[in-house]
């Protein structure tokens, strides 16, 4: 190794170390500035040490510029440390600029063209002891234009920000000279306290005084100790200022805002800007080009410079752990070899298990080495916020939480730019100016809270500001204008969804688009960057209250657990983070459960409609099928999804299909993978599930990026290649309109609800009955011996209670029955359990209710329908129970409902009957109507004591009806109850808002009586 390589290594080390020191230095300077005169010793000492170290090291390595500059900075910090200088805004600015320059020098160690003269000059002005009279310093910076140089103000140090701020806020700047002996010593007040008083009136930009180490004024020949200071204040009258400060200045020069503006425009700015400012710096007025210092190649000279490699800091504990695991791995490997040699399968399986464990642990630990705390990125934002706040004249505080949360190094690097953009947005467009905030009665200082935390297996980064929020109406308008959405979409869009409009490319509500270093970062790029990392971003905002932006990121990119699925034997991997659940449907349910809504397929999952995508369709893979194994593979030309023939099937719902019928075969099965899409879900239909695996993500080839559907590739355990699906992109390709679906779901609900699952049974006679499953608690198989006869009634022991058993033929006397020894009890839902005896349970089926209630009508029977080719009677369990045990449903409370006249509005005959039954059992009279319009007609002719109304109906739905109902003063005293098969959480509140008195879900109609009678009471007491 020759000297050159040694130097190269040392240089790399220096660069690494110096960079670290410089980042802590920046923090320290900011801390000192915030602390003001209350200088934190620890902080200042640390700052001093950092700068001192850099100075020393750079000197050793012959990096003269760095040495000189850090020397100057060290001097300033020394003064602060000894209390001679207060880290005011101006001083901090000089320090920060100096630190920036040193950073630039360090990062471009080979570049000789970076100049430091300005910073040196600025530093020197700082600790140049006071002068007799304001005059331009001997080392005049060559940049100062003539007007400035001649001005006393040039004698001081001030920053562009301060100047710009003063001009923007119409403040006055005073350059005063006072005699410290007179003002401090004789008036017996310390310089510090005097400065404090000055601070109360305005901002001190710079102070030049002649004091010794102890802070005592040093007198000059005239017995004076001159001190000059530059103060920026809203006070415009020099006399008032002097009086307010109790000073008698020897010299005072006033700069009005206008004069400042004139001066600053006449020439180049006072302080030379840092050319190589770091990437996060804010927009410069003059629009200077920011030199990117990422490439190692110096474009001006064209030669390749040595690339300084990226390094990572790892805790020694982690390294030890890795070492241990490596040795464990060796042990297991040896055991494995032995077991194989001995052909001992059992031992082999043991060692394999151990291998699994060690490999997983090893993998985890290695992943951890790449994990870095997000604080590395977050801490930079303190500076950015400070600079930007000053620039925009706003007051902003930034609070950072969760800096210790760790993320993969590559994610942290990529997240930097988007985060910067978002924070800048918050301050730029979110936080209002202090005046505006005062008008809104908010605190003058805006708050931006940047936090990171773990949730649901992901890392969340949140930016919360208490600014003016985002107005959804404005967003929609802009989107309309830019033709990003249509009017219909805008109307249908919820506020929550409208926030996502911000991410559409081409969208910007700001009058002037702010660019970051010429990279043209917009919100759409932010979203794409985050999505590329496998993450998501969400915005919630309230006008005048603030905005919350949440970014969700996976913990690591390299390895992730995934579900391998296949379509036509092509395998794909779906990252597990996206998967909510998997549903398996087979046979006919494939056709029955998947409905079409507006040309898209949907699946009803636990009451909610889920939009579906077929992976084969999205990826344009042709579906094939085989009649039998080894038979010819043919193209599957069936119309996917609900069989068109289904319309003909209605009324013959369960045309018995033989087992050979392809429609019924189990191989006709589907897996629906329910996936997370932002805050919504959708289902992806695949052929088979292959496996769950932890896959190594290999980045996508350039040529495949066009496909958009993929996020990467992976090699599975068996060596085959699987494409990793990009869920967000899939939904785009499949043109999934999730919000549309939800709108439809309410309407579609009504067409679904008339399908009821029924239990088909008989009582030993010729007739066939059905009873809806939703009304049943339980079906029990019993023997005659289990029944106990007491007083000519049967009783049965059910769940520690004795319940009475009735027979249908007791209530509907015309029926014949015949029971075997083995029979069944159907126990309907209800407060008091009672059992209905039946002879045989034949089947459970999904029936489209088309009840014919005229042909056969009898008390205890709703009506009839042809099911399975046989006339089937709908059992009115309530009526039957009432017939056998009168007053069963009536308890003392519901007795109050007696004799009331109720209007029941529902488009489903089934529910009309059901509710009528319920109400009859409470001894109420019921009239039915099929929709809102009909109901209004009926209401005009009859009067009712109460109304029960379904929400989803054709012609006029429940909400509209309620509006009309409540609009009529005649009806205001009548209780109005809403019922619905839809989502209770959503509809309950909404129905109450529309004028309903209460809401009952159709799935839980028991207690309907009680609810209605309670309403009567309430209405009487609180009309």
């Amino acid at each position: 190794m020759n000297k050159q390589t040694i130097d190269q290594e040392l240089l790399s080390e220096f660069v690494t170390e110096a960079t670290e020191h410089l980042s802590t230095s920046e923090e320290d300077i900011l801390t000192l500035e915030a602390g003001g005169s209350a200088v934190n010793n620890k902080t200042v000492n640390r700052l001093f040490r950092s700068v001192h170290t850099i100075k020393g090291a750079s000197g050793f390595l012959d990096l003269h510029k760095i040495e000189r500059l850090s020397h100057s900075l060290e001097n300033i910090v020394g003064l602060i440390r000894s209390g001679k200088l207060i880290p005011s805004g101006a001083i901090s600015e000089i320090l920060l600029k100096g630190v920036d320059k040193v950073k630039a020098l360090v990062e471009n160690v080979h570049d000789d063209t970076i100049e430091i003269d300005d910073e040196i000059a600025a530093c020197e002005r700082c600790f140049d002891p006071g002068n007799d009279s304001p005059r331009p310093p001997a080392t005049v910076s060559t940049d100062l234009p003539a007007p400035f140089v001649a001005e006393p103000i040039a004698f001081f140090d001030m920053t562009r920000y301060d100047l710009a701020g003063a001009i923007a806020e119409s403040r006055y700047v005073f350059a005063c000279t006072i005699d410290l002996i007179q003002e401090c010593v004789q008036k017996k007040r310390s310089l510090t306290s005097m400065l404090e008083e000055m601070k109360a009136i305005g901002e001190i930009w710079d102070v030049k005084k002649n004091t010794d180490e102890k802070g005592n004024p040093i007198t000059d020949g005239d017995g004076r100790s001159l001190c000059s200071f530059l103060i920026c204040t809203i006070i415009d009258n020099p006399d008032i200022l002097a009086e307010g400060l109790e000073l008698r200045p020897l010299n005072m020069v006033v700069y009005t805002p206008k004069k400042l503006a004139v001066l600053s425009q006449k020439g180049r700015p006072v302080m030379q800007e840092d050319e190589a400012a770091d990437v996060e710096s804010t927009k410069r007025d003059s629009g200077e080009k920011v030199r990117s210092h990422e490439s190692a190649v110096d474009s001006s000279t064209g030669t390749a410079k040595p690339v300084i490699e990226q390094t990572v800091r790892i805790s020694v504990a982690l390294l030890d752990k890795l070492m241990n695991m490596a040795s464990e791995l060796v042990l297991v490997r040896n055991q494995n070899t032995q077991a194989l040699a001995a052909e001992d399968l059992q031992l082999l399986s043991i060692t394999n298990q151990q291998l699994n464990i060690v490999t997983s642990e090893l993998q985890n630990s290695i992943m951890q080495t790449r994990m870095q705390p997000v604080g590395n990125v977050f801490n930079k934002f303190t500076r950015i916020v400070r600079d930007l706040a000053k620039k925009t004249g706003k007051e902003v505080d930034i609070v950072i939480e969760g800096s210790e949360v760790e993320l993969d190094k590559s994610i942290i690097e990529t997240i930097n730019d988007p985060l910067t953009h978002l924070i800048r947005n918050s301050i730029d467009h979110g936080i209002e100016s202090p005046q505006e905030r005062q008008k809104k009665k908010k605190s003058l200082t805006g708050k931006v809270c940047l936090s990171a935390f773990h949730r649901a297996g992901q890392v969340n980064i949140q930016i919360v500001d208490d600014g003016k929020g985002i107005n959804p109406a404005v967003l929609k308008q802009v989107a309309l204008k830019k033709k990003i959405i249509t009017k219909a979409q805008a109307d249908a869009m919820s506020d929550r969804d409208s926030f996502n409009l911000i991410f559409e490319p081409g969208f910007s509500t700001a009058a002037a688009v702010t660019e970051v270093s010429g990279r043209g970062v917009g919100m759409d790029v932010v979203k794409t960057s985050i999505q590329k990392l496998g993450g998501a971003i969400d915005i919630i905002s309230k006008v005048d209250q603030g905005t919350t932006m949440t970014i969700m990121l996976p913990l690591t990119l390299a390895i992730m657990p995934a579900l391998i699925v296949s379509v036509e034997s092509v395998c794909f991997a779906i990252p597990q983070t996206n998967i909510i659940e998997v549903v398996w449907i087979y046979g006919e349910r494939v056709f029955q459960s998947i409905k079409m809504v507006d040309n898209s397929e949907v699946y009803a999952l636990r009451g909610r409609l889920l939009p579906l995508l077929r992976l084969s369709k999205v990826l344009q893979i042709e579906k094939t099928y085989q009649e039998e194994p080894m038979a010819e593979i043919k193209l599957d030309r069936r119309i996917q999804g609900p069989d068109r023939r289904q319309n003909e099937l209605e009324g013959h719902d369960r045309v018995r299909m033989g087992p050979l019928d392809r429609r019924q075969s189990v191989s006709n099965n589907l897996y629906i993978i329910i996936l997370r899409h932002g805050n919504e879900k959708f289902g992806l239909i695949v052929d088979t599930l292959v496996d769950t695996e932890e896959i190594v993500v290999k980045p996508l080839h350039e040529q495949l990026k066009k496909c958009k559907a993929y996020a990467g590739t992976t090699v599975m355990g068996d060596g085959r290649i699987a494409m990793i699906l990009d869920i967000m992109a899939l939904s785009d390709i499949g043109e999934l309109h999730i919000t549309d679906i939800h709108k439809q779901s309410l309407h579609a609900k009504s067409s679904l609800e008339d399908r009821q699952t029924m239990i088909l049974f008989d009582i030993g006679g010729e007739e066939q009955f059905v009873i809806p499953l939703c009304l049943i608690t339980r079906v029990e198989e019993i023997h005659t011996g289990q029944l106990q006869k007491i007083n000519n009634r049967d009783y049965f022991n059910f769940r520690e209670k004795i319940i009475p058993i009735i027979r249908i033929e007791q209530g509907v006397t015309e029926l014949k029955s015949s029971y075997d020894d083995c029979r069944y009890i159907i126990i309907p839902k209800g407060q008091n359990p009672i059992g209905i005896m039946v002879a045989h349970i034949q089947d459970t089926l999904d029936v489209l209710c088309k009840i014919d209630s005229t042909t056969i009508y009898h008390k205890g029977i709703f009506g009839s329908q042809l099911i399975n080719g046989k006339i089937t009677l709908f059992l009115d369990s309530i009526a039957v129970i009432e017939a056998v045990e009168p007053g069963w449903f009536l308890d003392k409370d519901t007795g109050r409902g007696k004799g009331k006249n109720i209007l029941c509005i529902d488009d489903s005959v089934f529910y009309q009957k059901l509710i009528t039954s319920y109400l009859h059992s409470g001894a109420m009279e019921v009239t039915v109507a099929s929709n809102g319009q009909e109901a209004l007609d009926v209401l005009s002719k009859q009067s009712f004591d109460g109304v029960v109304c379904d929400l989803e109906m054709p012609i006029m739905d429940g909400f509209e009806f309620a509006e009309h109902f409540r609009a009529n003063p005649k009806f205001s005293k009548i209780p109005l109850l809403a019922i619905s098969a839809g989502d209770e959480n959503v509809l309950h509140g909404r129905s109450l808002d529309c004028g309903f008195d209460d809401f009952k879900p159709k799935s839980n109609l028991e207690g309907l009586l009680e609810t209605i009678t309670n309403l009567f009471v309430k209405k009487r007491l609180f009309p």
Partner: protein
């Protein structure tokens, strides 16, 4: 088939597509692999055959025939994957001092071409390479560096750097 001459000799690896002989400059070819179990990538361009796993690396496979406008080649026992070097590998070569091809246009990742069968390594002198005759299909012209007549058989020398961008 080798020919000697006083001009500097160039070496090409020859292969066959639909009975015709083609060649790549040997300096850009990394490997010839008999593995042809290609995983399809739905929605990808037709010129991309798919991906193949070679020793843990995922290699992109392109079909020259499709690039030239013909039907995709069937995979047979004779089929081979001709894999190109990456730009990094080519740069290493150039650092060794020899005359290297323009590395900018190649790929960072290994790309392979599916061929019907592989021929010999052919050493010929630069002088016998002629520019592409105009009667060849228009589609193919941008990809042809030149042709060489080897004892009656014509070898069409292809521009790999153009082929890998045809997607």
């Amino acid at each position: 088939m080798t020919k000697s001459s006083k001009y500097p000799d160039l070496q090409f690896i020859s292969f066959y597509l639909d009975e015709r002989m083609y060649g790549f400059d040997i300096k850009i070819v990394k490997e010839v692999n008999p593995n042809a179990s290609i995983a399809l990538v739905p929605l990808s361009s037709h010129t991309i055959r798919g991906l193949v796993n070679i020793r843990g690396q995922v290699i992109l496979v392109m079909d020259i025939a499709v690039i030239f406008g013909a039907a995709p080649r069937p995979v047979t026992e004779q089929s081979r994957l001709v894999m190109l070097k990456t730009t990094q590998e080519m740069r290493n070569l150039s650092n060794a001092g020899s005359d290297e091809p323009d590395t900018q246009k190649f790929s960072d990742k290994t790309i392979g071409f599916l061929v019907d069968s592989i021929g010999d390594v052919v050493t010929i002198s630069e002088s016998i390479i002629e520019p592409a005759p105009p009667h060849l299909a228009d589609r193919a012209l941008p990809f042809i560096k030149g042709v060489a007549n080897l004892d009656g058989e014509i070898m069409v020398i292809l521009k790999a750097e153009a082929l890998i961008h045809a997607y």
